[in-house]
């Protein structure tokens, strides 16, 4: 090829190869269980959390179920067998749970500061970024425990419960007992069963009847300790006519070993309720040779139990060495709505097998799936989705659009939709396309004076637009930046 085209390649090659910005380790004294899992470990976790007997029993039953299960193998991902006996199932900063932010170890506060997570309500309310910015309540989970939850009082005034899962088990046992495991049963799959046995912390949200949650809620998950799995559990309940928007972020230090993250998220929407769940997943993806990184094996599912309820998942997945994740909606309420908007970007040796399940079990239910997969480097990126209409799902409607964008010729982009239809009046539509960042597009941008790095980011941003517009404003900006960083060094 010509000199100029070599220069194109060079220009792209020299894109600054920036480090994973969240990859630092917090030096803090940690209490960690020895590796390995048996009933005594399950009991010990439960005891740590001062749980009532019913919760301990619930865990033990999950544990016994898990023992008899095997890891799923159908995903389009490859990795060595995980030795579940070499993982530690609990890690927490030493000391008692701080009563207020003033008692939190300053080292931890600095960690969240560095990650840009606001834990000081005052700072948030002062509105550093000027008018128009609404405060976001944060639950910060560090390894296996929640270290702080902000704006609890204000939320309490509105009747909204936002606390750590451990606290919910103690303070709101009736709600937890009623809903925990109803959307994702303990026996659902291997990783969900494991989570049910050993789940550490996570967030609990209850929005009462007719209440619109006055601010965005968010949880920030941080894995810090070495050789530790993180098994958080989130349960969000929107009672009749309630609505809530919830954001989730996650990071981990750069380590050469793979670390397991097996979370379960359950959403329950009663009649006319509305839950919007947004994730920017930026777990450490491993280095450019594929060393280290998080195994992100997550079960996320929502149940639209009431009529006209709505659950909307939006995810931007740029991190993790391996992602295995299918945020789903079971549409049981008549006229209920499920949505899934996803951007999944893989670079270097990352592997992602992600998508959704929309299970239509009631008349006039609707679902929309928009999935944008971007593969770069030597990565493999798979969309896997199920749309099922049950015989009683009269008038159900699904629309699915799956697009893949390839950058470079060493990566893979795969689309595996499953359509299972049993109701004649239901309409299911699926479309998928594959394209690449074309030389012509790059040349047009460069002829107009836009350098290759910016041009690629712009083209990818355009490709993802339909998903980004579903994200809350601040997240959308963060997501755009994250894509740019994740793509660095991708073209060449």
């Amino acid at each position: 090829m010509s000199d100029t085209s070599e220069r194109t390649d060079d220009a792209i090659d020299t894109l600054v190869s920036s480090e994973y910005a969240a990859g630092f380790v917090t030096d803090i004294e940690t209490e960690t269980f020895p590796p390995g899992l048996d009933e005594s470990v399950v009991r010990a976790i439960s005891a740590k959390k001062e749980e009532p007997a019913w919760m301990t029993e619930w865990r033990l039953e999950a544990y016994r179920g898990w023992r008899a299960m095997t890891p799923p193998r159908w995903a389009h991902v490859h990795f060595p067998e995980i030795d579940f006996e070499s993982i530690s199932y609990f890690a927490a900063p030493r000391g008692d749970k701080p009563a207020s932010l003033d008692e939190v170890d300053p080292e931890l506060l600095r960690t969240y500061d560095r990650l840009g997570i606001p834990l000081h309500e005052q700072a948030m309310l002062a509105g550093v970024e000027g008018a128009g910015r609404t405060p976001v309540a944060v639950d910060a989970v560090f390894d296996s425990v929640s270290i702080a939850t902000t704006f609890k009082e204000q939320l309490k005034d509105a009747g909204v419960v936002f606390c750590s899962m451990a606290e919910a088990v103690r303070e709101h046992p009736e709600l937890v007992q009623r809903y925990l495991g109803t959307v994702v049963p303990r026996s659902d799959n291997f990783y969900a069963a494991l989570n049910s046995a050993v789940f550490s912390d996570g967030s609990f949200v209850y929005v009462p009847k007719g209440t619109r949650c006055p601010m965005e809620l968010s949880t920030y998950f941080r894995i810090n300790a070495e050789n530790t799995g993180q098994f958080e559990r989130t349960l969000i309940i929107a009672d009749e006519g309630a609505s809530v928007s919830y954001l989730e972020g996650c990071t981990a230090p750069m380590r050469d070993e793979n670390q397991l993250h097996a979370a379960v998220v359950e959403l329950v929407a009663l009649g006319d309720a509305d839950i919007k769940y947004s994730t920017v997943q930026n777990w450490y993806p491993g280095d450019d040779e594929g060393r280290g990184g998080i195994y992100n094996f997550v079960t996320k599912r929502g149940a639209c139990l009431g009529a006209r309820s709505k659950i909307s998942w939006t995810q931007v997945e740029t991190g993790s060495a391996i992602t295995w994740k299918y945020p789903s909606v079971v549409l049981r309420g008549e006229g209920s709505v499920g949505e899934f908007y996803s951007v999944a970007l893989t670079n270097n040796l990352q592997q992602a097998d992600t998508g959704t399940k929309m299970i239509h079990m009631a008349p006039n239910t609707k679902s929309t799936i928009i999935s944008k997969g971007i593969s770069a480097g030597r990565s493999q990126n798979t969309y896997r989705g199920l749309v099922r209409t049950a015989p009683n799902a009269h008038g159900a409607r699904n629309y699915t659009q799956c697009d893949s964008l390839l950058i470079g010729d060493q990566c893979g982009a795969h689309t595996f939709p499953y359509i299972e239809s049993r109701q004649p009046s239901a309409v299911v539509e699926h479309e998928a396309t594959t394209s690449k960042v074309s030389d012509d597009q790059l040349f047009l941008c460069r002829q107009r004076g836009i350098d290759a790095e910016k041009a690629v980011a712009m083209i990818v941003g355009g490709f993802c637009k339909d998903v980004f517009r579903e994200l809350p404003m601040e997240f959308a900006v963060e997501a755009g930046k994250l894509l740019e960083v994740s793509l660095e060094g991708a073209v060449g």
Partner: protein, 403 residues
């Protein structure tokens, strides 16, 4: 007797038979060791395995142990210029040595391995280089429960094949389409009873062209594995299929198009109408290998679901390892458009006739020709005969002839 052998037990009995000692009564010179190796290594597919998610393979094992009826021998006509050799004739040997199994990965198609071991009848159909045959070759049943048809279309040659497997428990059609050759393959599968599986495997070389035209009804369990390998630069494949199922018909089409070489093109168009308590499955996989740049591949499947007891499973797949590609797939499942029906009715066409008209139009997007429509309409009788000829149809076809 068949009813007494449950699926899992049948699999065990069959497995033992496949790997047991014994001599082969038919064409013993044919190599069965590789096939036995595959079965020994991987076993037989189990119920609910991913590839058999929607079809109960156990039913086929039962049929495999006790074929329902004696295999018949149909007519196989070969026009001038085409060679025909039975596998057990000495004349077949060089062709078998060169080509048998060249298009088939037995590890991926375990039932084809079963076919190889239990093979009871096979024919080689060969068109020498550069010969263009105008008249189609017809292959009906060739007299065994396990059949293999090996088609060799040599460089630059052209052939049309029409095949109608009726009684075989498993048929392999292997197509070797050499450089610049063309093969037009028509498969017609009328309504049947007994479980029946088969593999169509085509290897398409440089600038060669393979097209498949599949008109299918179901049986208690019918599965077509179709595997097209675009092995040479610029090769092309066009796969079209139409099915119409009712009662308890079951049809499972598992299609893979492998783009192994650059600049190949594939087009897949499928239409299904599914009613009664029938089940239709389409798994349509497009695979683009690393290095197969400038591939152009697409698949569309549309399905009409006519009853709440019927089931449609559509699984289009893209698996892509090259970046300079144009690939897409689309799938829809739904009912006939009420607005279209109303439009017809408002013009004075009664509802049944309107349905017939619209269904014909729908199926024709994949397969043209009244012969196909006839196969698909057979058995849908009475007022609900939506595919039967209507006066409007006669007028249309008569008009066509006049012009």
């Amino acid at each position: 007797m068949r009813a007494s052998t449950q699926g899992p037990q049948a699999a065990e009995v069959l497995y033992a038979r496949l790997l047991g000692k014994g001599t082969y009564s038919y064409a013993p010179a044919i190599d069965r060791d590789a096939a036995r190796g595959c079965i020994a290594a991987d076993g037989l597919p189990v119920f609910r395995a991913e590839a058999w998610k929607y079809s109960n393979v156990g039913k086929w094992y039962q049929a495999a142990l006790a074929p329902a009826e004696a295999p018949s021998v149909g007519e196989t006509c070969v026009p001038d210029g085409v060679e025909l050799h039975r596998f057990d004739e000495p004349a077949a040997r060089p062709f078998l040595a060169d080509h048998l199994g060249a298009a088939i990965d037995l590890a991926r198609h375990p039932l084809a391995a079963v076919n190889r071991i239990l093979l009871g009848s096979g024919v080689v159909v060969r068109v020498p280089a550069g010969r263009r045959i105008d008249e189609p070759v017809n292959v009906d049943d060739i007299g065994a429960a396990y059949e293999h048809i090996l088609l060799i279309v040599e460089p630059g040659a052209e052939l049309a094949l029409v095949e109608t497997p009726i009684t075989a428990t498993h048929r392999v059609v292997e197509c070797i389409v050499a450089e610049g050759a063309r093969l037009m393959h028509r498969r017609v599968q009328p309504r049947g009873q007994a479980p029946q599986c088969g593999l169509i495997a085509a290897k398409v070389d440089e600038e060669a062209h393979y097209s498949l035209w599949l008109v299918a009804r179901g049986t208690e369990l019918r599965r077509n594995d179709i595997h097209v390998t675009l092995a040479g630069r610029g090769a092309e494949a066009h796969l079209n299929g139409a099915w119409r199922l009712g009662d308890r018909e079951h049809l499972d089409n598992q299609v893979t198009v492998d783009h192994l070489a650059p600049e190949c093109t594939s087009r897949q168009t499928f239409r299904g109408v599914v009613g009664g308590r029938a089940r239709a499955v389409l798994n349509g996989r497009i695979h683009i290998a690393a290095g197969a740049q400038a591939s152009d591949a697409s698949l569309t499947t549309k399905n009409l679901l006519e009853s709440t007891d019927a089931e449609v499973y559509a699984k289009p797949e893209l698996e892509i390892y090259a970046n300079d590609v144009r690939c897409s797939h689309g799938a829809t499942v739904g009912a006939l458009d009420e607005a279209m029906l109303f439009y017809c009715e408002s013009r004075g066409i009664d509802r049944d006739a309107a349905r017939g008209l619209l269904l014909r139009g729908f199926l024709r997007e994949a397969i043209a020709g009244e012969e196909a429509i006839g196969v698909l309409a057979a058995g849908f009788s009475g007022a609900g005969e939506p595919l039967g000829a209507t006066p409007a149809e006669d007028v249309a076809s008569a008009g066509g002839e006049v012009q």
